[in-house]
């Protein structure tokens, strides 16, 4: 087909934590790819609309022109299509199930976080309660381990790490301190930030907070 590139292209957005999951995964696997920044607040590109017609969302991984959508599915695809590179998922079936469970669960950090900065009054209070539950569950799963996967950085760590720069903002909107409430989670976040693949992919919290303000304006929220 005309215009179809060979190799890997990642349709992404600079501050998207879902896109960042893919960037970290590609880096961990040592895979070369072309990064393609997409317009999300304005008109979406033809390429994005063609590649993800159902959701019109990033990230999308194009492999020799064929699209794979959704961050966690992209990570699975990378493991399966590139079996000679370091695996992102564990080998043991039960460990894989647990990794899938917690990686999918961590999507709630962003869903609930969005409600936290968008809503006010009772709805915001409910979002705050939900966030406390989500972070509490993640903290409980982490426990006293260095990483969710144990002694080494693994799939769940990769899935959750991109939400860490959003936590200071969520904490402000929700009136909680991650450092104070869940010190183990805070320490884990710092541990991940030191990892090269993560450090290269994440935005600093200040930029994330600025972006939330942009989104608020975009939604017509003026406080």
């Amino acid at each position: 087909m005309a215009g179809e590139k060979k190799g890997l292209v990642l349709l992404d957005y600079w501050v998207s934590p879902f896109g960042q999951r893919c960037r970290i995964g590609l880096a961990e696997k040592g895979l070369e790819y072309e990064y393609s920044e997409q317009e999300l607040l304005g008109d979406r590109s033809e390429l994005l609309l063609r590649s993800n017609p159902v959701h019109k969302a990033v990230p999308v991984l194009l492999h020799d022109g064929r699209p794979v959508c959704e961050s966690l599915l992209i990570l699975h695809y990378l493991d399966e299509a590139f079996p000679n590179s370091p695996p992102l998922l564990p080998a043991d079936p039960y460990a894989r199930a647990q990794a899938r469970f917690w990686a999918a669960y961590s999507d709630k950090v962003y869903e609930v976080g969005t409600r936290l900065w968008k809503l006010r009054g009772e709805e915001q209070a409910r979002a705050r309660d939900d966030m406390v539950e989500v972070l509490g569950n993640l903290d409980g799963e982490l426990g006293d381990k260095a990483f969710f996967a144990g002694e080494a950085f693994g799939f769940v760590d990769l899935a959750v790490a991109p939400f860490t720069p959003w936590l200071p903002s969520y904490g402000r909107y929700g009136g909680f301190s991650v450092e104070r409430e869940w010190p183990r989670l805070a320490a884990w976040a710092r541990r991940c930030a030191g990892r090269e693949s993560v450090a290269k992919s994440l935005q600093p919290p200040e930029k994330v907070d600025e972006y939330i303000n942009v989104l608020k304006k975009h939604c017509g929220i003026n406080d």
Binding site: V54, Y77, A81, P93, Y94, A97, R100, F101, N137
Partner: protein
């Protein structure tokens, strides 16, 4: 050698499924176990009065289904199905072999649970204009699936998995039987054979399979259950008390979602248990 022996004994460990008879998420796991020829013990959960065992095994969601294998708990139907493939790779794989096809199967499973299911649930829990909007949403979603069958990822296939049923058939199929039930109970047309001929044909072929007939409850029971829930919902709506039973249910692959205000007299599971359950 040692790994193989460990695997064999792990595989041989007993399987127990905690589920609910009207939960399509539970049916997915029952069907998958039957397709793979795996023996299992089944424990029916009363969703209005959950067992300590369930709460202990699934503390995060407190939902069915939960599969217990060798004492270890696996919640979330789509995760359980993939676990079955990972743990018994030699027995009738549910996922295709090719990496891209696997990504597609998983993508459409998510679509079934995040988009189509909630839309169908919304039809069931609403009336009037709100219901009309929900019906439009269902039709839009079905049109996307129909397009994939007609000219997209699943073109020319009898089942989404190919000649045999696979992961997406199990996920979409166990739940699609609610479409006919909801049509009957609400009087709304959801799956027109003329508008969605391929989806209609696929569903008919799926429901004719022996393992599926063994798994899906008799339509009379489903109708009675759905009528009861709908009646209760409309009764509550009349009294001004229902509050979006299906509306703010979190998207998840498990069966029941918390409702705004379940009536105290409800002996059976509330609307959201089946409202988000396709």
């Amino acid at each position: 050698m040692e790994g193989k022996e460990e695997n064999a004994s792990a595989e041989a460990a007993p399987l127990k499924l905690l589920g609910s008879w009207a939960s399509s998420y539970t049916h997915r796991v029952q069907l998958a176990l039957r397709l793979k020829g795996l023996e299992f013990e089944y424990a029916e959960e009363d969703l209005a009065n959950k067992s300590d065992e369930l709460l202990r095994l699934n503390p995060v969601y407190k939902k069915v289904p939960v599969l217990v294998h060798g004492g270890r708990a696996l919640p979330e139907s789509v995760i359980i199905l993939q676990y079955l493939d990972d743990a018994w790779p030699e027995r009738r794989p549910l996922l295709p072999a090719d990496a891209f096809d696997r990504a597609l199967a998983r993508f459409w499973c998510h679509f079934a649970d995040d988009k189509l299911g909630p839309a169908v649930g919304a039809v069931f829990t609403s009336t009037g204009e709100e219901q009309e909007a929900a019906v439009r949403q269902v039709h839009e979603n079905l049109a996307l699936v129909e397009a994939e069958l007609r000219e997209g990822a699943f073109k020319g296939r009898r089942f989404f998995g190919g000649d045999e049923v696979g992961l997406l058939d199990v996920v979409l199929g166990c739940g699609s039987y609610w479409l006919a039930v909801f049509e009957e109970v609400t009087g709304v047309r959801l799956v027109d054979a003329d508008a969605f001929p391929l989806f209609h044909a696929w569903l008919r072929d799926f429901e004719a399979l022996d393992e599926v007939r063994e798994t899906i409850p008799a339509v009379d029971r489903l109708l009675e259950y759905a009528r009861g829930v709908r009646h209760m919902l409309l009764g509550l709506a009349g009294a001004g008390g229902a509050g979006g039973a299906g509306a703010d249910a979190p998207s998840s692959t498990a069966a029941d979602a918390p409702t705004a205000s379940p009536p105290p007299a409800a002996a059976t599971a509330t609307a959201a248990d089946i409202a988000v359950d396709i």
